[in-house]
Symmetry: C2
Subunit: 235 residues, 2 copies
DNA sequence: GAGCGTATTATGTGCGTACTTATTTTGTCA
DNA sequence: TGACAAAATAAGTACGCACATAATACGCTC
């Protein structure tokens, strides 16, 4: 007797994925209809649908109503990156976390900050500069702007005790986040704060968040020399 | 009369998300059981399940069998990054794409490369250095190692005509990809290739791919000055 | 009250049906 | 031929049921 076990949607996903890996379907090729695959594999269409959705989410295939399913003609490398609260990032590595507020002041947002938020009108903000430490050594230097209209409660937070990073992540959930990764050469101020030499290449993470259309915060995190952002993704 | 319309799982997701946004549930708090939410919203449990899965995928909540659903105690910023084939990336910006092979040679992989693949045994590889151009100007300098056991067909590819990047992405689908983002200071060779000055800060993308446990390729892409990697994510 | 096996519970999955929606194909008429 | 309407199609969604699975809670024994 053959095993009458039911296929899980993961099995189906693997099945389809493998037929792509083996070259049975190449970029641009059309796959059979869900219903036909379901029949062939002897499972429900909804199970195939689940598998297909997942493959579609991971960027391997494209699906269109009536148009059917095809292998992406122009494949992309798709990866998920997680950026934790800095304190946790440090502590999870087994290091001790430290934090120093450098400066906080209310100011109208300059042009560049408004641009990051895709705003055209001026907006009063709180600018916060702070340093995160790992085992007492500089780890991330952050330059943050917080929209006082969207997050007025930040005024009541003692930013010398709790980082804006932490308070915002815990208290200001967002509906949209933009990230920008780049590199910058340390200027005199950065070099001093990060305890490195002028001109050192530093990895920079810029993050901007909104709740619906309302801007929350934008932060430029300048990481210490040697910092790497790592992701691991499996299909 | 009230509208007897059925709720979609997106509606349910929005509903739950908003109750989190409004602070009804904070980090660590437990949400009602799916079945109860379904009853309250007058929809099927499977609809709530779908919504919850999505919120869980986007890192907002955590779900455990029997343990129930709770708002993530330690929220993370989760984002999806897409890295297209370099040629497409350039062409999509409306620029003309160019490509120059610098050097290709078979060699045993050095220690660092083996480490990226998490390999302990030596492996013969093809090392390919190449330059991608945008409107004739240097865009990305890539230093690539390709595992000849996993991808022997690469030997037959004319790498002066087609980039290894393109050939691999089209012909070698993977099951695992690791990414590492960092910054590096241009050394003499990089500066020369990328037509910039010594010491310039450059953004670096390292990508390593496997098919199951077999290593495919690892590439260190050194981007031209000013390069940014951008993502946009909405919940 | 410590240790351990069992019952309980909330999420996870699979199925089949019915219906919806986006898109393409076909068909009709000018 | 070209414009536009109608039919066909394939994915997407909702529901309800049954059962699987993984944690937790409970309760028993010693």
């Amino acid at each position: 007797m053959s095993a009458p076990e039911r296929l899980s949607w993961r099995d189906v996903r693997t099945e389809i994925h493998e037929s792509i890996l083996k070259g049975r379907y190449g970029p641009g090729d059309r796959l059979p209809r869900d219903a036909d695959i379901a029949q062939e594999l002897n499972c429900a269409r909804s199970t195939v649908q689940r598998a297909m959705q997942d493959l579609s989410d991971s960027g391997l295939i494209e699906r269109r109503r009536k148009g059917g399913t095809r292998v992406r003609a122009h494949p992309v490398t798709r990866a998920t990156v997680d950026i934790p609260i800095t304190r946790r990032e440090v502590e999870d590595k087994g290091a001790s976390y430290g934090y120093r507020l450098i400066r906080a002041a209310e100011k109208p947002a300059p042009r560049g900050i408004l641009a990051a938020f895709e705003l055209s009108k001026p907006c009063n903000m709180l600018r916060v500069e702070a340093l995160h430490l790992s085992d007492g050594r500089p780890y991330i230097l952050e330059d943050r702007w917080i929209c006082l209209e969207t997050a007025p409660e930040i005024r009541k937070v003692d930013l010398s005790q709790q980082s804006a990073n932490e308070w915002l992540v815990l208290n200001k959930p967002y509906t949209r986040v933009d990230l920008r990764f780049s590199a910058v050469s340390a200027d005199a101020a950065m070099a001093e704060r990060l305890d490195t030499s002028l001109g050192t290449a530093l990895f920079v993470i810029e993050r901007t968040t909104w709740i619906d259309a309302a801007p929350i915060t934008t932060v430029r995190s300048i990481t210490a020399p040697g910092y790497q952002l790592v992701t691991r993704n499996e299909v």
